[in-house]
Amino acid sequence: MSRPAARGRASLLLTAPALLTAGAVLLPLAYLVVRSATAGRDAWGVLDAATGRLVLDTLLLVAIVVAVAAAVGVPLAWLVTRTDLPGRRVWAVAFALPLVIPSYVAALALLGALGPRGFLQEILGRAFGVERLPEIYGLPGSVLALTLSTYPYVYLLVAAALRDLDPALEEAARGLGRGGWHVFRSVTLPALRPSIAAGGLLVGLYVLSDFGVVSLMQYPALTRAIYLSYNALFDRDPAVVLGLVLVALTALVLVAESRFRRSARYHRTTASSARRAARVELGRWRWPAVGACSALLAVFLLLPVSVLVYWTWQAVPLGRPIDVAWRAAFNSALAAALAAAVAVAAALPVVYLAHHRPAWWTRLLERACFTANALPGIVVALSLVFFGARYGGVAYQTLALLVFAYVVRFLPQALAASGAALQTVNPRYEEAARGLGRGPLTTLALVTAPLVRSGLLAGAALVFLSALKELPATLLLRPIGFDTLATEIWQATAFADFSAAAPSALLLIAVSAPYVYLLVGRHGRLGGPSAG
């Protein structure tokens, strides 16, 4: 429970990579600053009352989606890691999968199922003569589609934290005669605050940056205004100004996150680092819990997947071959795996400095890495076009630059995951290793990394899944001819050819499943006492 004291100077071996990482992640912000400096005076006229309303609408959406995602993600994480829920290993993987459904595909599928004249209305119309379903456009549809795409952030990070959490605290509370719910609320939940905060942060940033859902669901968010301004071409300066507004909102979300997190600083005090908590027996709650899990999964995974399967199947009577884009699947997996590995490696020095060498500048460095994350993909992509074409040399529009772009866009996910995990590590282990003469990098690799492995793996999973579905930067920065599943889906949906888009979307889910299993499911199984 002790607060890590500021010890010694940060080693250059850690500082240099951390600075390099922050510099890379801040490129989009630098681009906005360069562009806004050359923007005409008129561009600032976009900051009017209407934009003020956009900001409020955007914040409302962020607040609701963060709350709903936390309300869904935390209980699910607890159920699959800490209880004897039947089939929890399968659930553990399944609940992470909605993350890989691109949000515009999720929104399309939800509209197809729940929209006016969608499948549900058709069924209810035939059976009960229902003419109109409750309105899905606007806030309800946006919240539903965005929750679907983002609750896995909270779920994965909280599940990782629960795995790494020292069970001694809970055991002590239970030993004092506290009941299960009381222990959860007064001991477990506070200890989870860093991971809930980190997950909520990623959800908030995602909602700020998302364009697909708000455009399909017709919700007036800031990103919509930014895309419109970019599409107007003759006058892109307003987009730059609105981008800076988004960065300001990001700062707001970051402040909210650290407020929420501040009250808790928990880490292990004993050497029980790899010990697991005993499973909670659900008893008579067992089947209701399974029912709730099934219901959630039905909405978040089964519904979009079955709409996709239906669209795929639609092509059959037309005698059209169902194209399976194996090559694109390989490309997607390759680029995303590289991005995940690089992002985790780049994130570790940054979070390590922020949490274990706390000083104003190490914290600022870590926070700064989040500021560009809420920018819509097109802004990040164009900033890398700007710098890449000027200073990238032969690397411009190669796989290396594409992976770099993914890291720039998704590093915060690795940061949030490993940061949340690092907060539960007692710095004394590292002090001991340093005291035994190990260098900073060796300590980081051999002592710190294994202690937070769940967090690192969760971070890698997040980056991998996000990179798999990334579109705007992929279109502009990929090597020519390097098709990915996301570009295949984009191409098919441009003409509303859903039966051509659906197989690629299903393949996207199929490609990510084994990876998620490796990172989340398998690990969970081997670590659990019930399996050990």
């Binding site: 164009l382 076009v385 074409a389 502009l476 006492p529």
Partner: protein, 356 residues
């Protein structure tokens, strides 16, 4: 047991790291190999880099044909017209692109306006009518698309549709109209309407439609899909999306209604192409554009399955069933002039609550 799990953890991590490194190495090798490959090609013949805002299925077959005929290899980056235009502008003189093929005149105009397109030879320009090419000679229209009113054939007959765009403000159409306010071609249509009838009448029309509970969709296809499932009954879209829809869903109950004569609802917009000013292979680039204006390409754009754009050159006739270009008066609006009006059109659309 503690020990086992710890060891497993670090082993798993090491495994993931090793796998990542292996993939990285493989990727780098593949990268190097592919670069050597293109280098070899460049030694034998010219390779052009094309940025195409037009969908792969709309241009790839004809681009392949170009390579077969001329031996000039093409490397094509497909993307969104506006995003590629922005990319060309950000890349500046270091752009690897030689040719820009765009979905609409606005994107071409924006790139040309930043001095990023070269002046085309007169011989190339003269192959299309003046109203379908840039006043500044920096791009040329390759195929045309008409604005139409698409409608659901199960709920409506063609004779029930108003013959003018003004008719849709009638209460009979309340809640039954769909349009894509953020789409470039819809915005070009509003710009043309402002040029023709003035700002005030255009604003009144937009407001009257809004009062008539018009429904918004993200793009042309979205509108057509909504018409097909009767979420709305009519929609303002480009004519050729229908042929694409029929290709994937032949039973879709949707048809096009053309507005002709002097009605402001009638407009022809173009997809076009230009040569990037920093290109070092301008002659080959012009050859590609000439090929796109040739008979084979024009036939491909206008008459191959699922495609029904208006041919603009080589004397090719449009698909049967389409009204002649000359009957669509909106064509007389100069497309080069439309782009300049776009910012003020966007402002108007914001004002009346279409894009906010």
């Amino acid at each position: 047991m503690n020990e086992t799990t710890t060891r497993f953890g670090s082993r798993a991590l090491a495994l993931v790291a090793a796998a990542a490194l292996a993939i990285l190495a493989a990727g780098a090798t593949a990268q190097a190999a592919s670069q050597v490959g293109t280098g070899g090609v460049a030694a034998h013949g010219t390779t052009l880099t094309v940025y195409s805002g037009r969908d792969e299925r709309f241009v790839k077959p004809i681009l392949d044909q170009f390579t077969q005929r001329t031996g000039i290899r093409l490397q094509v980056r497909y993307g969104d017209s506006a995003a590629l235009a922005a990319t060309l502008i950000e890349e500046g003189s270091r752009s690897p692109a030689d040719v820009f093929i765009a979905q609409d005149a606005g994107a071409l105009g924006a790139v040309a306006g930043r001095g990023r397109l070269a002046v085309l030879p007169q011989r190339t320009l003269q192959r299309v009518a003046p109203r379908f090419r840039a006043p500044g000679k920096r791009w040329v229209g390759v195929s045309g698309r008409a604005r139409v009113v698409a409608y659901n054939t199960e709920s409506l007959r063609a004779v029930e549709l108003p013959s003018s765009i003004w008719g849709y403000t009638h209460p009979r159409w309340k809640g039954k109209i769909g349009l894509p306010p953020t789409n470039a071609s819809f915005q070009a249509f509003v710009s043309a309407m402002r040029m023709r009838v003035g700002n005030d009448r255009t604003r009144d029309w937009l407001l009257a439609l809004k009062a008539n509970d018009v429904k918004f969709f993200p793009n042309n296809s979205g509108v057509l899909q909504a018409i097909a499932r009767r979420e709305v009954e009519v929609g303002f879209v480009n004519h050729y999306y229908l042929y694409q829809l029929k290709e994937s869903t032949p039973s879709a109950p949707v048809a096009n209604h053309f507005l002709t004569g002097p009605d402001p609802g009638a407009l022809i917009n173009v997809a076009g192409a230009g040569v990037v000013s920093s290109s070092k292979r301008k002659a080959a680039s012009v050859r590609l554009i000439d090929f796109l204006l040739g008979k084979d390409a024009q036939r491909f754009f206008s008459r191959s399955p699922g495609r029904a754009e208006y041919p603009l050159a080589a004397g090719v006739r449009p698909r049967t069933g389409l009204p002649a270009l000359s009957r669509i008066e909106g064509a007389r609006v100069n497309l080069g002039a439309l782009g300049v009006r776009l910012p003020s059109t966007l402002q108007l659309l914001n004002e009346v609550g279409y894009t906010r």
